[in-house]
């Protein structure tokens, strides 16, 4: 087995190549789930907004299926740069459960200046409390930190803030 090529930071100038028009509007293979707005803010260890992060999401469709292999479509994928206040927005659809045991979730990958490697987390939905309780991935997370992975349902959509450090530090996963 060959050792993988090491990662390096995305740095401050990634928007030159990685900002795509409308990439925060995620398309899906039918069946679609409920259309949702997903927004949040990224904070550093001082509690200050991170103004230069890139967030990518990757998710299943309404039936819990990831896009069919070979359908070179970009389905299920979204990308958004945060604004000067660290805020991001995605317009997508709520995924179905990938397996009967798992609660609906979306993978988020965060890149930023100052991070040598990408950070991967899983967003769960605040209005799925019963399913979240039995999710096998959430079960791997210490109880006290699980709340960092739950997006709150607000009147403007789901809200998922990401804290890189501090008492509310978001749980990140090994890929």
């Amino acid at each position: 087995m060959r050792r993988p090529t090491p990662a390096q930071t995305v740095g401050p100038y990634f928007s030159l190549a990685l900002d795509w028009p409308q990439a925060h509007q995620v398309t899906h293979e039918p069946p679609l789930g409920v259309a949702i707005c997903l927004r949040g803010q990224v904070f550093d260890g001082d509690g200050l907004p991170v103004p230069d992060a890139l967030i990518e999401i990757w998710q299943a469709n309404g039936a819990g299926d990831y896009p069919t292999r070979g359908a070179a479509s970009g389905y299920g994928f979204g990308r958004a740069s945060v604004d000067s206040e660290g805020r991001y927005t995605f317009l997508t659809h709520k995924p179905g459960p990938v397996t009967p045991q798992e609660a609906p979730h979306i993978h988020l990958t965060l890149f930023a200046r100052g991070l040598m490697n990408p950070l991967v987390t899983r967003l769960y939905f605040g209005d799925e409390a019963a399913r979240n309780q039995h999710d096998p991935a959430l079960a791997q997370v210490p109880l006290a930190r699980r709340a960092t992975l739950i997006a709150a349902l607000t009147h403007t959509g789901y809200c998922f803030d990401i804290h890189l450090q501090g008492p509310l530090e978001t749980v990140f996963f090994d890929v």
Binding site: M1, R2, L16, G114, M116, Q140, L164
Partner: protein, 233 residues
């Protein structure tokens, strides 16, 4: 079975890197949690040729009316998975400074000239054999505020999507013999010299288009298994 893929295990840089100041307030303090592998998606997003902007593989001629200034270079290589199988139709995104060491970006205020004919961004897809190439100019080094008189070595940023979810990679290509390399906290953040060497392109005269451009070869190994049949979910 659990995947064990912490940066240290891979021989990658740790997220917290004291010599790289921006990491101090951004690197998570808790270790990443390992999940059973079946809970992670096996595949990642895919794109076809329609994703590419026309001419995106030539960074030297993206502005009508002129061509980029600097040493023209052809960068080529092969993208494979950990088993050496090709990562076919992998999207590679490219961005870099101009020949004077300045990015076409409002946040870059380095006192070096902008080149009106070099925007510094490109895209290519690998072919069925995992091979790619793009035409550009050799970027310049530039100062950054990390430490007194700190300069980034010449580099090209690359973002790659392989077949697997774990194959996502953002990295930097460096140039052989650059005296700034051993002084750079980002490059030197990778603990072992053999791993760092993977980020240094090889000068490749045999591949150089005669009387047109110098060539550099940069092979990339992505994580995961590109050719393994994947589940439908």
């Amino acid at each position: 079975m659990r995947r064990v893929a912490q940066p240290a295990t891979l021989g990658w840089a740790p997220n917290e890197l004291p010599a790289y100041r921006s990491s101090a307030k951004r690197a998570p303090q808790a270790a990443a949690i390992a999940l059973p592998s079946h809970l992670m998606p096996s595949q990642g997003p895919r794109w076809g040729p329609e994703k590419l902007r026309a001419g995106a593989g030539d960074l030297t001629t993206q502005v009508p009316g002129g061509t980029a200034q600097g040493q023209r270079i052809l960068v080529h290589g092969r993208v494979s998975d950990a088993a050496g199988r090709p990562e076919a139709h992998a999207l590679i995104e490219i961005w870099q400074a101009n020949a004077a060491g300045r990015y076409w970006h409002p946040a870059d205020q380095h006192v070096a000239p902008l080149d009106p004919y070099f925007l510094g961004a490109g895209q290519v897809l690998t072919d069925a054999q995992g091979c790619y190439e793009f035409l550009s100019i050799e970027p310049g080094a530039y100062p950054w505020g990390n430490h007194p008189n700190g300069w980034r070595p010449k580099h090209i940023h690359l973002s790659l999507f392989g077949a697997g979810f774990a194959a996502r990679l953002v990295t930097q290509l460096y140039f052989p013999g650059d005296p700034l390399l051993p002084l750079d906290p980002i490059f030197m953040g990778i603990p072992q010299a053999a791993r760092r060497a993977r980020l240094v392109a090889k000068f490749d005269l045999l591949h150089s288009p005669p009387e047109w451009a110098l060539a550099y070869r940069f092979d990339v190994v992505l994580r995961g298994h590109a050719a393994t049949p994947l589940d439908a979910h």
